[in-house]
Amino acid sequence: MAKYLFLKHYRSLSAPDPVTDVPMDRWTPEEVEAHFQYMRDFADRLEGTGELVDGQALAPEGMWVRHDGAGRPPVTDGPFAETKDLIAGWMVVDVDSEARAIELAGELSAAPGAGGEPIHEWLEVRPLLSAPPPTVTE
């Protein structure tokens, strides 16, 4: 088994896509509902197959913070003006192979959006660094 992180971004990093770039509040209520339903079903199914580890959504509000020397309060920068690179949420899955991780991310990216069409959003898929299996030796 291997764990993978799926990162959803607030806006896809690819060129603007007329389908994915319609903000959700401009979809019809039915389209919004279909999207929520798809996401719920996806998570439920992964729980059912025993592949879901965790999934969380993140607020769009946030900031950058860094240390600013001893005895001084940390420096903050934000809130962000641009939401382009912001992470909207994540899902961690525990799957048998990279192929399965890719397959699942593909399904997640097919969630319906405006017009009921799949939103085709790019998802970042990252393997988690974890301890090697005990059978692996130097």
Partner: protein, 391 residues
């Protein structure tokens, strides 16, 4: 004997051990040990005096822990192998235990965890599940809390107000895992109401009961939020509501008003209306004005603006909202609702989308997105040219 009844005996047992000179942290572990043993050995036949049984077993467990714990050898422990007589716990002892767990030196999350464990008798695992944190994290939180309480000593315990705040925090957590924290908070508040002669505690209990009565109707099976106006009132638990109203009235009759009683009165007025149209908004606004005397917070002012909007119309509600801080959570949602009521659908749609962006929970975010989508669809079908009412 069911688990909840059994856990109801915990504060008494713990206060007896502490009364015999046991240190709080070890005594608390010993009581947990006794509980686990009771659950595994009693089955359907509890002893005739379950409290005495638990005290005996917990005391033995405590002695074993003290003897076997080399790290504690150097510490002075005032214990004899023979417990002193007089093991009947008094209400005051139990109340002191509540105060100890709501010690002012504890952070709210520590006070909550310690209260659930030491007064509620929940296991660390159950508390961890309820708060969605790993068990080791919760175990650390609880043992740190115990150390804090031990260090601070019992000279400056919390008071009824801190305990009420802790219990209300527990209540508002809702539930996940196998423990219903709302029900647990109600159980502990009921117990507290029997120990402390304070109408505010009764107000808090009534407030919880009245909220709890509506729980089934507040969300749909898929987890989405149902606003108060759209809730199916047939699903409300009339027995809980009746009890909540009786408790509220009895507390108010004592003429020592406080914030929880005022909130209970507001909840009772909502619960009393058979249909949303019959809600007595004028009286609700009056109670909000009372509440402001005890708790003048932005949240109270925000909720009051909603009530004013219903009682005196949207413009009056918007005027009341103008007095509320810009960065209060849920302010956008209230503004959106009032502007929609006022007929400014474009502004309302924009504010609903804004509210979604600022929602503290996923369910709320989705709810506000639905509202924005609904209005935007309506606007596309009928562009605003004046004279557009609600869709």
């Amino acid at each position: 004997m069911d688990d909840v009844v059994l856990r109801g005996l915990v504060p008494q047992v713990l206060s007896v051990l502490v009364g015999r000179g046991a240190d709080f942290a070890t005594a608390e572990d010993a009581v947990q040990e006794a509980l686990i043993r009771a659950l595994s050995t009693w089955g359907d036949e509890p002893p005739t005096d379950p409290t005495a049984w638990l005290i005996t077993v917990a005391w033995r467990a405590f002695l074993d822990m003290v003897r076997s714990d080399t790290a504690r050898r150097n510490r002075e422990v005032r214990v004899d192998t023979e417990p002193p007589p007089g093991t009947v716990p008094s209400a005051d002892d139990t109340l002191r235990l509540y105060f100890l767990c709501a010690h002012p030196d504890l952070t709210p999350s520590s006070a909550v965890a310690l209260t659930l464990r030491a007064v509620g008798g929940l296991t660390t695992r159950q508390i961890a599940q309820a708060y969605l944190v790993p068990e080791p994290t919760m175990a650390q939180r609880i043992s740190r809390a115990k150390r804090t309480v031990a260090r601070a000593g019992v000279d400056r315990p919390g008071d009824v107000d801190t305990v009420m705040r802790v219990l209300y925090l527990v209540f508002n957590e809702g539930y996940s895992g196998d423990v219903d924290l709302a029900a647990e908070a109600i159980r502990l508040t009921r117990q507290l109401a029997g120990l402390a002669d304070d109408p505010e505690v009764h107000g808090l209990l009534a407030l919880m009961l009245l909220h709890h009565a509506r729980r089934r109707s507040r969300t749909r099976p898929d987890g989405s939020i149902v606003p108060l106006a759209e809730q199916d009132r047939a699903q409300w638990d009339r027995a809980l509501i009746a009890e909540g109203i009786v408790i509220t009235q009895a507390a108010l009759a004592r003429d020592r008003l406080g914030e929880y009683q005022a909130q209970a009165a507001i909840a009772a007025l909502h619960a009393d209306a058979p249909r949303v149209e019959e809600t007595d908004w004028v009286q609700i606004v009056e109670w909000y004005d009372e509440l402001l005397r005890f708790a003048d917070t932005p949240i109270v002012r925000l909720n009051r603006a909603v009530a004013v909007g219903e009682a005196d119309g949207a413009p009056a509600g918007l005027a009341a909202l103008a007095q509320v801080d810009e960065d209060v959570p849920r302010r956008h949602a209230v503004a959106a609702h009032l502007h929609e009521k006022d007929g400014d659908l474009e502004l309302a749609a924009h504010l609903y989308a804004e509210a979604a962006r600022h929602s503290p929970t996923l369910a709320e975010r989705d709810h506000q997105l639905r509202q924005a989508a609904r209005l935007n669809q309506h606007l596309r079908a009928a562009p605003p040219d004046g004279g557009e009412g609600r869709g």
